[in-house]
Protein backbone atom coordinates (compact mmCIF):
# COMPACT_ATOMS: atom_id res chain seq x y z
CA UNK A 1 0.00 0.00 0.00
CA UNK A 2 1.34 3.39 -0.93
CA UNK A 3 1.78 6.17 1.61
CA UNK A 4 -1.12 8.09 0.06
CA UNK A 5 -3.43 5.09 0.18
CA UNK A 6 -2.75 4.75 3.90
CA UNK A 7 -3.62 8.42 4.38
CA UNK A 8 -6.77 8.00 2.30
CA UNK A 9 -7.83 5.02 4.42
CA UNK A 10 -7.18 6.89 7.64
CA UNK A 11 -9.11 9.92 6.38
CA UNK A 12 -12.00 7.74 5.29
CA UNK A 13 -12.17 6.17 8.76
CA UNK A 14 -12.04 9.56 10.48
CA UNK A 15 -14.74 11.16 8.33
CA UNK A 16 -16.94 8.12 7.87
CA UNK A 17 -16.26 7.94 4.14
CA UNK A 18 -14.79 5.49 1.69
CA UNK A 19 -11.39 5.44 0.02
CA UNK A 20 -10.78 4.39 -3.54
CA UNK A 21 -8.12 4.82 -6.19
CA UNK A 22 -8.38 5.49 -9.89
CA UNK A 23 -5.69 6.38 -12.43
CA UNK A 24 -3.05 6.32 -9.74
CA UNK A 25 -4.78 8.88 -7.57
CA UNK A 26 -6.35 8.11 -4.22
CA UNK A 27 -9.75 9.57 -3.49
CA UNK A 28 -11.74 9.84 -0.28
CA UNK A 29 -15.51 10.12 -0.59
CA UNK A 30 -17.28 11.76 2.29
CA UNK A 31 -20.81 12.93 2.94
CA UNK A 32 -21.59 16.62 2.54
CA UNK A 33 -22.15 16.89 6.29
CA UNK A 34 -18.62 15.65 7.02
CA UNK A 35 -16.95 17.72 4.27
CA UNK A 36 -15.24 20.26 6.54
CA UNK A 37 -14.38 17.58 9.11
CA UNK A 38 -12.57 15.62 6.41
CA UNK A 39 -10.80 18.70 5.04
CA UNK A 40 -9.65 19.75 8.48
CA UNK A 41 -8.34 16.27 9.24
CA UNK A 42 -6.52 16.21 5.92
CA UNK A 43 -4.91 19.57 6.58
CA UNK A 44 -4.09 19.27 10.28
CA UNK A 45 -3.52 15.56 10.89
CA UNK A 46 -2.25 14.41 7.52
CA UNK A 47 -0.34 17.58 6.66
CA UNK A 48 -2.08 17.96 3.31
CA UNK A 49 -1.85 21.72 3.71
CA UNK A 50 -1.41 22.71 0.10
CA UNK A 51 -4.69 23.51 -1.65
CA UNK A 52 -4.35 22.84 -5.37
CA UNK A 53 -7.84 23.16 -6.80
CA UNK A 54 -11.54 22.63 -6.19
CA UNK A 55 -14.09 21.90 -8.88
CA UNK A 56 -17.50 20.53 -9.66
CA UNK A 57 -18.90 17.69 -11.76
CA UNK A 58 -22.48 17.55 -13.00
CA UNK A 59 -23.51 13.98 -12.27
CA UNK A 60 -26.93 14.27 -13.86
CA UNK A 61 -29.60 13.42 -12.92
CA UNK A 62 -28.65 12.80 -9.27
CA UNK A 63 -26.67 15.87 -8.33
CA UNK A 64 -23.22 17.38 -8.29
CA UNK A 65 -19.88 16.19 -7.07
CA UNK A 66 -17.46 18.66 -5.53
CA UNK A 67 -13.83 17.57 -5.69
CA UNK A 68 -10.83 19.06 -3.96
CA UNK A 69 -7.18 18.26 -4.62
CA UNK A 70 -4.87 18.60 -1.63
CA UNK A 71 -1.14 17.97 -1.43
CA UNK A 72 1.80 17.91 0.87
CA UNK A 73 4.56 19.55 -1.09
CA UNK A 74 7.67 18.28 0.71
CA UNK A 75 6.87 14.64 -0.04
CA UNK A 76 4.60 15.16 -3.07
CA UNK A 77 1.79 13.22 -1.39
CA UNK A 78 -1.51 14.29 -2.87
CA UNK A 79 -5.08 13.03 -3.01
CA UNK A 80 -8.62 13.96 -3.87
CA UNK A 81 -11.56 14.41 -1.55
CA UNK A 82 -15.00 14.19 -3.07
CA UNK A 83 -18.50 14.83 -1.81
CA UNK A 84 -21.88 14.85 -3.48
CA UNK A 85 -24.79 17.26 -3.13
CA UNK A 86 -28.30 16.60 -4.44
CA UNK A 87 -29.59 18.46 -7.48
CA UNK A 88 -32.64 19.70 -5.61
CA UNK A 89 -30.56 21.33 -2.86
CA UNK A 90 -26.94 21.77 -3.98
CA UNK A 91 -25.58 23.29 -0.78
CA UNK A 92 -22.17 22.67 0.77
CA UNK A 93 -20.17 24.32 3.54
CA UNK A 94 -17.47 26.64 2.27
CA UNK A 95 -13.88 25.48 2.68
CA UNK A 96 -12.52 29.04 2.63
CA UNK A 97 -12.09 29.00 6.39
CA UNK A 98 -9.63 26.13 6.02
CA UNK A 99 -8.07 26.98 2.66
CA UNK A 100 -8.24 30.67 1.78
CA UNK A 101 -7.21 29.84 -1.80
CA UNK A 102 -10.47 27.95 -2.29
CA UNK A 103 -12.39 31.24 -2.43
CA UNK A 104 -12.05 31.77 -6.19
CA UNK A 105 -12.52 28.07 -6.94
CA UNK A 106 -15.74 27.99 -4.96
CA UNK A 107 -17.00 31.14 -6.67
CA UNK A 108 -16.33 29.55 -10.04
CA UNK A 109 -17.98 26.26 -9.03
CA UNK A 110 -20.95 28.23 -7.70
CA UNK A 111 -21.54 30.16 -10.91
CA UNK A 112 -20.81 27.28 -13.26
CA UNK A 113 -22.85 24.57 -11.49
CA UNK A 114 -25.16 26.49 -9.19
CA UNK A 115 -23.70 24.90 -6.05
CA UNK A 116 -24.17 27.18 -3.05
CA UNK A 117 -21.20 27.39 -0.69
CA UNK A 118 -22.55 28.35 2.70
CA UNK A 119 -20.34 30.68 4.67
CA UNK A 120 -18.36 31.94 1.68
CA UNK A 121 -17.04 35.42 2.49
CA UNK A 122 -17.76 36.81 -0.99
CA UNK A 123 -20.40 34.75 -2.82
CA UNK A 124 -20.35 36.70 -6.11
CA UNK A 125 -19.64 35.40 -9.63
CA UNK A 126 -15.97 35.13 -10.52
CA UNK A 127 -15.94 34.95 -14.31
CA UNK A 128 -19.53 35.54 -15.44
CA UNK A 129 -21.27 38.88 -15.55
CA UNK A 130 -23.63 39.90 -12.79
CA UNK A 131 -26.64 39.57 -15.09
CA UNK A 132 -25.71 36.17 -16.53
CA UNK A 133 -28.63 33.78 -16.34
CA UNK A 134 -28.05 30.08 -15.74
CA UNK A 135 -25.12 27.82 -14.91
CA UNK A 136 -23.10 27.11 -18.08
CA UNK A 137 -21.39 23.88 -17.00
CA UNK A 138 -24.61 22.12 -16.07
CA UNK A 139 -25.36 19.45 -18.60
CA UNK A 140 -28.85 20.81 -19.23
CA UNK A 141 -27.55 24.29 -20.06
CA UNK A 142 -28.49 25.16 -23.63
CA UNK A 143 -25.76 26.64 -25.79
CA UNK A 144 -27.79 29.49 -27.21
CA UNK A 145 -25.29 30.47 -29.90
CA UNK A 146 -25.54 26.94 -31.30
CA UNK A 147 -29.29 27.19 -31.68
CA UNK A 148 -28.83 30.36 -33.71
CA UNK A 149 -25.87 29.08 -35.77
CA UNK A 150 -26.30 26.92 -38.86
CA UNK A 151 -24.91 23.42 -38.33
CA UNK A 152 -22.53 22.26 -41.08
CA UNK A 153 -23.86 18.72 -40.66
CA UNK A 154 -27.27 19.65 -42.07
CA UNK A 155 -26.04 19.13 -45.62
CA UNK A 156 -26.55 15.61 -46.94
CA UNK A 157 -23.97 13.61 -48.90
CA UNK A 158 -24.56 14.46 -52.52
CA UNK A 159 -25.91 17.90 -51.72
CA UNK A 160 -29.19 19.29 -50.52
CA UNK A 161 -30.88 18.55 -47.24
CA UNK A 162 -32.62 15.42 -45.95
CA UNK A 163 -34.93 13.74 -48.44
CA UNK A 164 -38.62 14.18 -47.97
CA UNK A 165 -40.04 11.90 -45.32
CA UNK A 166 -36.68 11.50 -43.61
CA UNK A 167 -35.97 13.22 -40.37
CA UNK A 168 -33.11 15.69 -40.84
CA UNK A 169 -30.01 14.99 -38.74
CA UNK A 170 -29.67 17.12 -35.65
CA UNK A 171 -26.51 18.26 -33.90
CA UNK A 172 -26.07 16.52 -30.54
CA UNK A 173 -27.02 18.57 -27.50
CA UNK A 174 -28.77 21.33 -29.43
CA UNK A 175 -32.54 21.59 -29.08
CA UNK A 176 -34.75 22.22 -32.07
CA UNK A 177 -35.67 25.85 -32.70
CA UNK A 178 -39.29 24.89 -32.06
CA UNK A 179 -38.43 23.52 -28.63
CA UNK A 180 -36.23 26.29 -27.33
CA UNK A 181 -35.50 29.92 -28.01
CA UNK A 182 -37.45 33.02 -28.97
CA UNK A 183 -39.45 31.25 -31.71
CA UNK A 184 -40.64 28.40 -29.47
CA UNK A 185 -44.09 28.34 -27.95
CA UNK A 186 -44.33 30.09 -24.58
CA UNK A 187 -43.83 27.81 -21.61
CA UNK A 188 -41.84 25.19 -23.51
CA UNK A 189 -38.46 26.82 -22.93
CA UNK A 190 -35.93 26.27 -20.23
Amino acid sequence: MSATAAVADALARQAGGTASAAFGLDCVEVSAQRWLTALQAARDQHRLGYFDWLGGVDEAPEGFAVVIHLAELSSCRHLLLRTRVPRSAPVLSSAVGLFAGAAWHERETAEMYGVVFEGHPQPTPLLLGEDFDGHPLRKDFVLASRVAMPWPGTAEPGGGTARQGRRPPRPPGVPDAGEWGPTSAPGTGR
Partner: protein, 140 residues
Protein backbone atom coordinates in the same frame (compact mmCIF):
# COMPACT_ATOMS: atom_id res chain seq x y z
CA UNK B 1 28.26 29.47 -11.34
CA UNK B 2 26.25 32.61 -11.99
CA UNK B 3 23.11 32.71 -14.07
CA UNK B 4 23.51 33.96 -17.64
CA UNK B 5 20.72 36.53 -17.58
CA UNK B 6 21.14 37.43 -21.24
CA UNK B 7 20.76 33.91 -22.59
CA UNK B 8 17.04 34.24 -23.11
CA UNK B 9 17.37 37.43 -25.16
CA UNK B 10 20.03 35.97 -27.42
CA UNK B 11 17.96 32.90 -28.16
CA UNK B 12 16.82 32.74 -31.76
CA UNK B 13 13.46 31.09 -32.17
CA UNK B 14 10.39 30.98 -34.37
CA UNK B 15 9.58 32.38 -36.83
CA UNK B 16 13.23 32.99 -37.82
CA UNK B 17 14.20 29.45 -36.96
CA UNK B 18 11.49 26.84 -37.42
CA UNK B 19 11.12 24.95 -34.17
CA UNK B 20 11.69 21.24 -34.16
CA UNK B 21 8.37 19.57 -33.42
CA UNK B 22 7.74 15.87 -32.88
CA UNK B 23 6.76 14.07 -36.07
CA UNK B 24 3.35 13.15 -34.74
CA UNK B 25 2.43 16.63 -33.50
CA UNK B 26 -1.15 17.71 -33.91
CA UNK B 27 -0.14 20.62 -36.10
CA UNK B 28 -2.75 20.62 -38.81
CA UNK B 29 -5.34 18.30 -40.34
CA UNK B 30 -4.54 17.28 -43.90
CA UNK B 31 -7.07 16.03 -46.44
CA UNK B 32 -6.61 13.22 -48.93
CA UNK B 33 -9.53 14.29 -51.08
CA UNK B 34 -9.36 11.16 -53.27
CA UNK B 35 -10.40 9.09 -50.27
CA UNK B 36 -13.27 11.34 -49.26
CA UNK B 37 -16.75 10.04 -50.10
CA UNK B 38 -18.55 13.17 -48.82
CA UNK B 39 -20.27 10.98 -46.23
CA UNK B 40 -20.54 13.94 -43.80
CA UNK B 41 -19.56 11.83 -40.77
CA UNK B 42 -16.64 14.10 -39.82
CA UNK B 43 -18.70 17.28 -40.22
CA UNK B 44 -21.44 15.83 -38.01
CA UNK B 45 -19.11 14.47 -35.34
CA UNK B 46 -17.02 17.65 -35.10
CA UNK B 47 -17.76 19.17 -31.67
CA UNK B 48 -16.72 22.59 -32.91
CA UNK B 49 -18.72 22.58 -36.13
CA UNK B 50 -15.62 23.60 -38.06
CA UNK B 51 -15.80 21.23 -41.05
CA UNK B 52 -17.77 22.38 -44.07
CA UNK B 53 -18.50 19.94 -46.88
CA UNK B 54 -20.42 20.53 -50.12
CA UNK B 55 -21.00 17.74 -52.56
CA UNK B 56 -23.24 16.77 -55.43
CA UNK B 57 -24.45 13.53 -56.96
CA UNK B 58 -23.27 12.37 -60.38
CA UNK B 59 -25.02 9.58 -62.20
CA UNK B 60 -23.08 7.27 -64.48
CA UNK B 61 -25.01 5.42 -67.18
CA UNK B 62 -25.30 1.65 -66.90
CA UNK B 63 -22.18 -0.20 -67.94
CA UNK B 64 -24.08 -2.81 -69.92
CA UNK B 65 -27.45 -3.25 -71.55
CA UNK B 66 -30.26 -3.48 -69.00
CA UNK B 67 -27.98 -2.52 -66.10
CA UNK B 68 -28.76 0.15 -63.58
CA UNK B 69 -27.20 3.60 -63.70
CA UNK B 70 -24.88 4.18 -60.76
CA UNK B 71 -24.70 7.36 -58.79
CA UNK B 72 -21.86 8.56 -56.61
CA UNK B 73 -21.07 11.64 -54.60
CA UNK B 74 -18.57 14.18 -55.85
CA UNK B 75 -16.83 16.44 -53.37
CA UNK B 76 -17.20 20.13 -54.21
CA UNK B 77 -15.89 21.79 -51.11
CA UNK B 78 -14.04 20.59 -48.03
CA UNK B 79 -12.99 23.30 -45.62
CA UNK B 80 -11.76 23.29 -42.05
CA UNK B 81 -12.05 26.45 -39.99
CA UNK B 82 -8.91 26.35 -37.87
CA UNK B 83 -10.18 29.36 -35.94
CA UNK B 84 -12.74 27.00 -34.39
CA UNK B 85 -10.86 23.69 -34.55
CA UNK B 86 -9.66 22.51 -31.15
CA UNK B 87 -7.42 19.80 -32.58
CA UNK B 88 -9.28 16.97 -30.88
CA UNK B 89 -8.77 14.63 -33.83
CA UNK B 90 -12.28 13.16 -33.72
CA UNK B 91 -12.72 13.77 -37.46
CA UNK B 92 -9.56 11.80 -38.16
CA UNK B 93 -10.71 8.98 -35.89
CA UNK B 94 -14.20 8.68 -37.35
CA UNK B 95 -13.31 8.94 -41.05
CA UNK B 96 -14.18 5.50 -42.44
CA UNK B 97 -12.01 5.95 -45.52
CA UNK B 98 -8.82 7.47 -44.07
CA UNK B 99 -9.22 10.79 -45.82
CA UNK B 100 -7.96 12.89 -42.89
CA UNK B 101 -4.50 12.84 -41.34
CA UNK B 102 -2.52 14.66 -38.72
CA UNK B 103 0.44 16.61 -40.11
CA UNK B 104 3.07 18.35 -37.96
CA UNK B 105 2.89 21.53 -40.08
CA UNK B 106 2.00 24.50 -37.86
CA UNK B 107 3.10 27.70 -39.56
CA UNK B 108 -0.25 28.83 -40.89
CA UNK B 109 -1.23 31.72 -38.65
CA UNK B 110 -3.26 34.53 -40.19
CA UNK B 111 -3.89 38.16 -39.39
CA UNK B 112 -7.60 37.85 -40.07
CA UNK B 113 -9.65 35.20 -38.33
CA UNK B 114 -11.51 34.50 -41.56
CA UNK B 115 -8.25 33.52 -43.24
CA UNK B 116 -7.96 30.52 -40.93
CA UNK B 117 -10.60 28.65 -42.92
CA UNK B 118 -8.60 26.46 -45.25
CA UNK B 119 -10.09 24.88 -48.32
CA UNK B 120 -9.38 21.48 -49.85
CA UNK B 121 -6.41 22.66 -51.94
CA UNK B 122 -4.50 23.88 -48.92
CA UNK B 123 -5.61 20.91 -46.83
CA UNK B 124 -4.38 18.68 -49.63
CA UNK B 125 -0.97 20.34 -49.74
CA UNK B 126 -0.47 19.42 -46.10
CA UNK B 127 -0.67 15.73 -47.06
CA UNK B 128 2.98 16.13 -48.04
CA UNK B 129 3.87 16.79 -44.41
CA UNK B 130 2.07 13.74 -43.06
CA UNK B 131 4.43 11.35 -41.31
CA UNK B 132 3.99 7.60 -41.55
CA UNK B 133 2.99 6.12 -38.20
CA UNK B 134 5.74 4.25 -36.39
CA UNK B 135 5.76 0.48 -36.38
CA UNK B 136 3.52 -1.21 -33.90
CA UNK B 137 5.03 -2.13 -30.58
CA UNK B 138 6.30 -5.71 -30.57
CA UNK B 139 3.93 -8.17 -28.92
CA UNK B 140 5.27 -9.08 -25.53
Amino acid sequence: MGTDVGARDRQVSAPEVPPAVPARSRGVIALLADNCTSCMICARECPDWCIHIDSHTEVEPAEREGGRPRSHYVLDRFAIDFALCMYCGICIEVCPFDALYWAPEHGYSARDVGDLTHERDRLGEWMGAVVLPPDEDPVR
